[in-house]
Chain length 402, copies 2
DNA sequence: CTACTTAAGCAACGCTGTTGCCAAAGTGCA
DNA sequence: TGCACTTTGGCAACAGCGTTGCTTAAGTAG
């Protein structure tokens, strides 16, 4: 059961178990999973699993799909998630670009869109543009099927909006607006309050300080909205790609340096959504001044090495911070991402892996901590943002919880 | 509900709610708490709370204790935890000393005992001595009331054992062996496997590598045993002292430097019980060599400053590490402890607080992070060890979970 | 074709928190 | 003093959860 301070009743129990089964179905993917295996993995009785899966099938969330080979008796029936039973929109607002994806329950991208963005423009304009793009991805100018649709900005009644240069829109199923859109997950750079969906002073963009992004987008799109830091969204999305429930860290090196932490299957945000301040960890006491006012921050050292063209040194600094993090939290897996890393992935993976490996070796116990680059999709943040909406369905605290 | 990968049934539901209520009773302490307040805090209906508290009263865990002032109607009945309904033993094995405490459900120390210890002696001898001391604290040579009692070492049938110099034993209620001892929590220094209760290579004491401490002590005492790192035990115990469920870090500076983390009400251990490796966080790239083989570790810098008599510099280094930790995890509260800090608490609190305060100010948002010394008892580790046993009763994952 | 094994559903059951109702125990005002 | 009102908390009936006992379905092995 999910950690909480509130009591549980029968509906809570029911949805907990349903989420558990749904999560196993999601992880099983197209291979599917049998009722008895679900029973083993959940420690529920087979009969309980039968009842739960019957409900899920009645709701259209699961379906039977073939049989396993017999082991001497009646063959097991394979159950699978029905990906089309629900969708979520992920929106990534970056400093100079906007990315929107529409994903199904399985996390597959159904449609996506990318457009340039001036994050420094007035908040209202950015919100209007974002809502417009969300509407387009959803298959029409009107946005989601429900009420309160997007009051799209000036003009643009056409279904496909040629919105600036480089705007790309490739819907996999263009004329097929999904019936059930569960919500909109939004990932933004700066510090913010996740619970209230209110931004704080994003570095370099003071006009966002105190802006209620969640409520503004909810009013524009008519969808439930969840807002989180870009690194948290990416970490959540990437953590769902792996089978294991192990603790997970995503390190993002782009124009800045940040981290997203997934501990115990849930994004760790801290009380003020401040967790993941990785870039301003001090790794060189009395070192060079950082833009934050401190000295010897990882970010300052890293970016200095990058601008000096010394990727190996940048990787060494980054690796030192990563090793600190792995040691402090006993993290199971680390994933690297971000534009700077993407430009020279081998150097960074090799450099960071070397430092972590040395640390693990010193500490003796503990198998090697896997370190990889982001995989499967060049929009990890936007896809993760969509998972902010979907994760609660699978019992993973991501949007509503904490 | 507590985060888990297993399904939940009605007994699970029941114990979850009971634990929740019990935890609120524990936090309320002697002031007590009314049924309606319990209902508000748990989000359960008043009727459900009535049923749950009736069960707890029938089991002897709770009792009615007076009434609140009326607010215009029938006055609320105050409920309180019955501390004597259960006890737990906490054992702290330090490098040169052994501490045993017997605590009640409320966490109050009922009896305690301290004795010198040579942690470098053969494992069997240490275990025998520890089991003997546990038996003494429990009020007799035979140990716990249940079967499989301590096969106490050579001699010593007397109830109070004058066991070496400086051995102190002051039971509050000498002739009153508690009926229900729920288990034994053990806190030890080195790296270890919490799930299996097996030690790894404790620095300087290679003979403990691979020793199954949990099973050995369970066999000796006949009690359920939970083993954890000393810093984790202390962090758990100290975190329970505060009302808030906020995230918590305990920093221990003694012969070494370590940390215990309590995130979301549960001790964060990581997959291999390795979390909390605070001492070997790098804060000075290419700095002086540390005993661990790395360079620029907090511990190396800190201990160097301490041995040089420069408490201010040690506090500054420690504070840098603490600020890193606070920033990375958005920790709510930090507590300092350990012999070195105890020797000059003001200097360390002032120094560490200054560094954290500066960092928080730079980051803008976020209220000041409270930093205090350990309070209430000079045996925080042993008391925390006892809480390893009690915490699961209150729905706080500490012993069984994770 | 018979015997056996395994998977999965039906029906009855115990137990959970919830709902509707009522008694108990105070305060406040006439 | 007595009546009206407010608030607390238990009793009884209830819907819904997973569990248990048993039956049916659907394969393999000889």
């Amino acid at each position: 059961m999910n950690r909480s301070n509130t009591g549980a009743n029968l509906p809570t129990l029911r949805s907990h178990n349903a989420a558990l089964v749904l999560d196993l179905l999601r992880v099983a993917g197209e291979r599917g999973i049998s009722r008895l295996e679900l029973a083993e993995r959940t420690a529920l009785t087979p009969q309980a699993v039968s009842k739960i899966t019957a409900r899920l099938r009645a709701e259209g969330l699961a379906t039977e799909a073939g049989h396993r080979a017999s082991t001497g008796g009646k063959p097991r029936t394979v159950l699978r998630l029905v990906p089309d039973a629900g969708h979520a929109v992920g929106l990534h607002l970056d400093r100079d670009e906007l990315t929107v994806v529409l994903v199904d329950l399985a996390g597959a991208v159904v449609a996506s869109r990318r457009a340039p963005l001036d994050f420094g423009a007035p908040a209202g304009e950015v919100v209007a543009a974002a809502a417009r793009e969300v509407g387009v991805v959803l298959g029409g100018p009107g946005g989601a099927g429900s009420g309160g649709a997007a009051e799209a900005g000036p003009g643009n009644p056409a279904p496909t909006v040629p919105d600036g240069t480089g705007s790309v829109s490739h819907a996999v199923s263009p004329g097929d607006p999904p019936a059930t859109v569960l919500g909109l997950g939004v990932a933004v750079p700066g510090p913010l309050d996740h619970r209230g969906g209110v931004l704080h002073r994003v570095t370099g963009f003071p006009q966002w300080d105190g802006f209620p992004l969640r409520d503004a987008l909810a009013a524009r799109t008519g969808l439930p909205v969840v807002v989180d830091k870009d690194t948290n969204a990416a970490a959540l999305g990437l953590s769902l790609r792996a089978d294991g429930p192990g603790d997970f860290a995503y390190l993002h090196l782009g124009t800045g340096l940040g981290a997203g932490l997934v501990l115990g299957g849930a994004v760790h945000r801290g009380a003020r959504t401040g967790a993941g301040e990785f870039g301003h960890q001090t790794v060189l006491l009395d070192g060079p001044l950082c833009s934050c006012g401190g000295r010897g921050c990882i970010e300052a050292l890293c970016l200095a090495a990058v601008s000096g063209g010394d990727a190996a040194e940048a990787a060494r600094v980054l690796g030192t911070g990563a090793a600190n993090l792995v040691g402090l939290l006993d993290i199971d897996r680390v994933v690297l991402g971000g534009r700077t890393v993407d430009a020279d992935p081998d150097a960074y993976v090799r450099g960071v892996r070397a430092v972590i490996g040395e640390r693990v070796r010193r500490d003796g116990i503990g198998a090697a901590v896997p370190l990889v680059m982001t995989v499967g999709g060049d929009r990890p943040v936007a896809e993760g943002a969509a998972q902010l909406v979907l994760a609660p369905l699978f019992g993973r605290l991501g949007g509503a919880g904490a």
